[in-house]
Amino acid sequence: MIEVKNLTKRYGDKRAVNDISFKVEKGEILGFLGPNGAGKSTTMNMLTGYISSTSGQILINGTDILEDPKKAKSNIGYLPEIPPLYVDMTVEGYLNFMFDLKKCKLPRKAHLKDVCDLCKISDVRKRLIKNLSKGYRQRVGLAQALINNPPVLILDEPTVGLDPNQIIEIRTLIKKLGKRHTVILSSHILPEIQAVCDRIIIINKGVVAADGTADEIAKSITNEHKMTLRIEGTTHTASDKKEIADAIRSLSGIKYVRADMEREKGIYDFDVETDGKTDVRRAINKLCSEKGWNILMLQLSDLTLEDIFLKITMGEQLVHDEAEQKKERPKINIVLEEAHAPETEDDENNGGEQ
């Protein structure tokens, strides 16, 4: 559906996008992830023909965007970072304008009604865009992209500035759209990408740093396997902690054990890292039942997208700081846990960004 080959964009000496290649198949939802300034928007602007590439090729549905821009563009619905809204028009007037602009042949009334219903803006159709809230504007922007049912949807940070409920709505909508359209969506918000996308491309400093599903990316960059254990000792004294840690450490296949804080009286958390080949869960269970300890929690914590992202985007630095990090691990783990708790909490964080 979309094929990008060796795409490069140079601004003077600076390479904003450097030799990016990827393919997106029909019906796939691809997430572009990267820190601010990584080249996400530049890439999307090239994909949609807003700016040209310095070198490389973009094929939309088999059509080169530079050779036959009109045909290629007619296959794309684009929601830029700032929705291209004429604020002195009504929603209806604006959508009618976009309908004409895209030379849409579908039945006007029915199609616009569908799009408005889908984006939940039917109740504001008669209102001026300048009087709409940010959330509504974003949805009008999305509606505009959906006009003419383009097979490819390119959405640049579609949930920026929305409140938590709206974010969930938009995500659900994008997932729904992903069934009929090929979607490329960019974000620097990790949970969003994870929640919506089938496949992720991490862009950093203008190059593709990783490409695949979250799991594939995780596997490709690490062979660590971590879990968190919560165990209740027998004596309820401080000696439990050391005893348990030592006992687990002595099991085969365990690379690393670190006792964490005391959660409740006599109950401790342990971060355990295995060699990745041995499944130690049963061994741990057996050990505990022999010693009379109670396992209150066992949680596998494979690398989260957050870990991957940090690892990739801050790559070398992270390796240098590896030693430091091991010492500080409890702190980091807590942060990750918080950041990765239930979805609603992430949404609140995102919503707070407005």
Binding site: S52, S74, P80, P84, D88, M89, F97, M98, D100, K103
Partner: protein, 234 residues
């Protein structure tokens, strides 16, 4: 092109710009119509048109200033440039919308003609010649204004810069007798917007002048397209 044309026409009226433009145009043309035509006792409309040159020169930049600059500023150009339409369609849609407003303004002359017809004998050939001359002038100046609007993100910059450029074009031929080389003086006279315009108002229909204005309009629209094209490549 149709979509952009209709949107711009709507925007001219919803923003009130069209009303301001028309009002100011009618005030000045009315003043000159009364002072130069009615009061003189002749039905010759040429003095009215000669005087309107300077007014048009300052009014057209108001009409064209936001056409492309605002698109760039509000990033709505992303919507236009990623739509399946060509750059010419975008530029011409906007250009023709501004030209339409100008034609609406200029057509007030037919109201004056009716008044004149009531008072005396109207020389329709001169009047239509004048009307046509101003139309050509507007077509050329609007193209210049749209071009300047494409160069900046700021409406005011576009307006002031356009006024300066149009004023320079107006004064252009006054340089001709400053040159010692005859060919250069001739060239400057040939490129004078004002001389050609005055020639029309005197009732002389010169095909070269028609071509001159039309090619200026075409050239500047072409430049505008190039500016939009270049922005993509930079």
């Amino acid at each position: 092109m149709g979509a952009i044309y209709r949107r711009e026409m709507g925007a001219f009226f919803t923003s009130g710009l069209a009303y301001v433009f028309l009002a100011v145009f009618y005030i000045f043309s009315g003043y000159y119509f009364y002072n130069e035509v009615i009061a003189s006792g002749y039905t010759d409309t040429s003095p009215l048109f000669r005087n309107m040159f300077k007014i048009v020169l300052f009014l057209i930049p108001i009409l064209t200033m936001r056409l492309l600059s605002e698109e760039k500023k509000t990033r709505t150009d992303q919507g236009l440039l990623t739509a399946p339409i060509g750059l010419w369609e975008i530029v011409l849609g906007k250009y023709l919308a501004a030209l339409t407003i100008f034609i609406i303004a200029e057509s007030i002359i037919f109201v004056y003609a009716v008044i004149l017809a009531y008072l005396g004998q109207v020389v329709w050939a001169t009047l239509l010649g004048n009307y046509f001359a101003m139309l050509l002038l507007g077509a050329a100046f609007i193209a210049v204004g749209v071009f300047i609007s494409s160069l900046t993100e700021n409406q005011m910059t576009a307006a002031v810069f356009s006024m300066a450029v149009l004023f320079f074009l107006y004064l252009f031929d006054s340089f001709s007798d400053r040159f010692s080389w005859q060919w250069l003086a001739d060239l400057v006279t040939q490129l004078s917007f004002y001389n050609r315009y005055v020639e029309f108002t005197q009732g002389i229909f010169n095909l070269t002048s028609v071509l001159f204005y039309i090619s200026t309009a075409f050239l500047f629209n072409f430049f505008t397209v190039r500016v939009l094209e270049k922005r993509r490549w930079s």
